[in-house]
Symmetry: C2
Subunit: 150 residues, 2 copies
């Protein structure tokens, strides 16, 4: 009795489920969505929150420094920072000693947000339901990938 030929095996590397890239892409968007209700209470978007994490730590930074730390360019940062400036969270001014640079400095309203953001990291950790060990392992692999691709 003749057997039917085996079905042609698709190049499994071209399947969505074989990709490592898709989970990264999907998880990244899901994380942003998980932040959303927490950040909405502060009238913040996720990239704006990242800018604040840096400003709460450093008080003031140039656009270039923000870009280096966040891996974003001025095409993204300039309009984002203008929106944050409009809300009086930060100031944008040229560095008098090098007029090419723009210094972004925290304003009182921006500094005040830090207190309201205190709970966010723990709330996110709670949503993610990952052990300390898992998080460390994940971060290790991701930072490896990051240095590989940056």
């Amino acid at each position: 009795m003749a057997t039917t030929p085996p079905p042609p095996v698709k190049n499994s590397l071209l399947k969505l489920e074989s990709q490592i890239c898709f989970p990264v892409y999907a998880v990244s968007r899901l994380i942003t969505k998980a932040y959303q209700p927490l950040l909405q209470a502060l009238d913040l978007t996720y990239p704006q929150y990242l800018v604040f994490l840096l400003l709460w730590e450093h008080e003031q930074l140039t656009v270039k420094e923000l870009g280096e730390k966040l891996l974003l360019d001025s095409g993204t940062l300039t309009p984002l920072l203008k929106r944050m400036e409009q809300k009086q969270w930060l100031s944008r001014r040229r560095d008098p000693r090098d007029e090419r640079s723009v210094i972004i400095a925290l304003l009182p309203a921006g500094r005040a947000l830090e207190a309201q953001a205190q709970q966010i990291p723990l709330q996110m950790l709670d949503k993610m339901q990952m052990s300390e060990a898992e998080i460390t392992a994940l971060r290790t692999h991701l930072t490896h990938l990051l240095t590989q691709l940056a």
Copy 2:
């Protein structure tokens, strides 16, 4: 001799470097950038490539099915699929048996792209420089997070 008081320790959870979320966000964008030169040769964006991965495997899917698999809604997919339709890569038509659904079907020009995309996964693996074990571990942690957040 009086010791200086310890510097006030910033809530380390509110530092960018403590966050697991930032590496995911940054790596996701870096991966997209790494794909860019490879996909540009096929006139594709990364989300369009993801749609093709599914269509190459399934030949035709509804917008709803694409959305479920990619975790994207019609607000993102409709304009994206219209652009792909304009390039004659796929067709969009209502399902005659349920006019609410729109069936996305591969067209010859879209099917032809599969051959040209064959090399992409290996080229990406090469760029990422990760061992099989690392990739598996990373995917495991990410899919865990994905189910946790989805």
